[in-house]
Symmetry: C2
């Protein structure tokens, strides 16, 4: 027992044989250290009782070192991949990441914002969902970054998204360049900014290449069943009804795969008779047979951009540049075109 001898965090670190950052993590009780390390640091701290407790306390009140990620559906690989990259980024910075799933339910979303706020998270990343953020339920002024979700004007929120318009354009252009003349699009009915942009890209590509936009070829799915099933059944229905088309732009990869299976089941050869382009670049597009040409969203960069922005806001750094970050998409050519 050394009683009231003053001791600094640096000295604790030296005495325990770990870094200052590790001592800080142990004191904040928030990050990556083994049980052994914790014990070693705490033993040194106990030996020097009073003074260090003050230091620990002052560290403890600074930040909760947790963030929340609000996501509509972790069962969707695009979302879960982005969430995992965010988790990785923040864990490396010593943060815990609490993932909250809203199932696209507005009341749930409000409840989770409220709950994360009451748990004193240092910031929130919210992915997709409705356009406005339920800021009214948050009592503290904490930073929020959105992904694939355009906050209503007036809010000062920051958002990161793929270039959905260009993606829709490139997908349609690919089909046109491969000779398609009647291009069906399987779009999502819900009129979120993301869906509107992809559809506008499709229309503008048709017009640019001298085709007219045929509303009969724009199928809006209502999202009541899985993307795969909706797409499979509607494409089967259209084939049986005798609707002619030689290209399909599916606005996500599961829809593209549903279309592919419907064509195979109806003995329509892909890509000879009908070509398909999907969107997202998730495993199903790569791993089905034949693999599907798709518009690749750079999930890692999206997650990193959003994470870095949130991190800067949390530590009080200035955000230079735009508060709206657009990440490029790319065409991945595979067996269906």
């Amino acid at each position: 027992m050394k009683g009231n001898k003053k001791i600094s965090i640096k000295e604790i670190a030296e005495l325990s044989g770990v870094s200052v950052a590790t001592v800080s993590r142990v004191l904040n009780d928030n990050g990556r250290f083994s049980e052994e390390t914790r014990k070693r640091v705490m033993d040194i701290i106990k030996e020097h009782d009073y003074t260090v407790n003050m230091a620990a306390k002052s560290l403890r009140v600074s930040k909760s070192k947790t963030i929340g990620v609000v996501v509509p559906d972790i069962n969707n690989e695009f979302f879960s991949t982005v969430v995992l990259e965010i988790e990785k980024f923040f864990f490396e910075e010593g943060y815990s990441v609490f993932i909250c799933n809203t199932s696209q339910n507005d009341l749930k979303e409000e409840a989770y914002f409220r709950s994360l706020d009451s748990k004193l998270v240092d910031g929130i990343i919210c992915i997709s969902g409705r356009e406005d953020i339920p800021l009214g339920v948050i009592k503290r002024n904490i930073p929020i970054v959105c992904i694939d979700r355009k906050p209503k004007s007036g809010t000062n929120a920051i958002y990161v998204e793929s270039d959905h318009y260009l993606g829709g354009f490139m997908a349609t252009e690919e089909l046109i360049k491969k000779g398609c003349k009647r291009i069906l699009t399987l779009a999502k009915g819900k009129s979120l900014s993301v869906n509107k942009q992809r559809l506008q890209g499709y229309k503008d590509a048709l017009i640019k290449y001298g085709f007219s936009v045929d509303e009969n070829l724009i199928v809006k799915l209502n999202g009541n069943r899985s993307s795969f099933e909706e797409a499979r059944d509607i494409v089967s229905y259209l084939i049986k009804k005798g609707i002619e088309f030689d290209g399909i732009f599916a606005t996500n990869d599961w829809r593209a795969h549903g279309a592919l299976v419907a064509l195979q089941q109806n003995n329509v050869s892909v890509p000879e008779k009908v070509k398909i382009v999907g969107f997202d670049g998730i495993s199903v597009s790569e791993f089905c047979y034949p693999p599907i040409t798709t518009i690749y969203q750079d999930k890692k960069t999206i997650a990193l951009e959003a994470s870095e922005l949130l991190y800067k806001l949390i530590i009080g750094e200035e955000i230079k540049g735009s508060r709206h970050v657009v990440i490029p998409v790319s065409l991945v050519s595979r067996g269906t075109t």
Copy 2:
């Protein structure tokens, strides 16, 4: 302003035109109610100031009304489906659910247990991962329920799992009954209880039907790449090497799909020349072409059993019956057998 008139929660509920449960939720700030409801209730509360604040305070200290779910990989559909069912159950009971992804990293798991504990969650469900639970890092005595993870003996933990042994047995039996004589299994190298049980079921089915266990037909994948890619490449390799087999028991559906694609790419017809059975019953098994016969894990029942057990423990109800719950599996026959 009615000043210090005493008022009960019941009266607040009547005056606000909502249920007692809703008033309680608003006071606890934890659950499902609209911003309008909150405002209405809070207005009544403000009118009756002092007395109700006491009630609010006493309610507030009772429970944090949050639980944590610790999961190795939300990008795995089996896990994410189970997590979503847990979330649904607890949200309906007025709880917020914080999902923590560990990427099968032990240090991360410890950090999340510590972090959930410091956020005062009322209980934790942990799915898969290593066999022991890092109880040492939790300071409070809160209930923990495990799924697909057999806690080391000595702990009093409760666990819920599918009948993995029977699943392995049924998969192999299906292949034998459909005429297979040389059955390859694509197993996971990591020797967790789940993997061991499925493999033992495979071996016991072979023996029961008079076959010998050929170690050359037991392929252990190391999990360094995706299940799909590992399975696809090893099956292609075995075909090229001339190893003979006419059945494949893949211990998850992505491995089954990888095997299917490898066979298709090598012009081996499925199910005529080689039959396949997967495990899990996730979308890829249903939606690939041909759809894959699989052992279906009842994800909803697994989640509900685990949730109900945790809920009972949280509210202090006695657990009758076993602390180890085994959920039946079933064979779903499809195009690959």
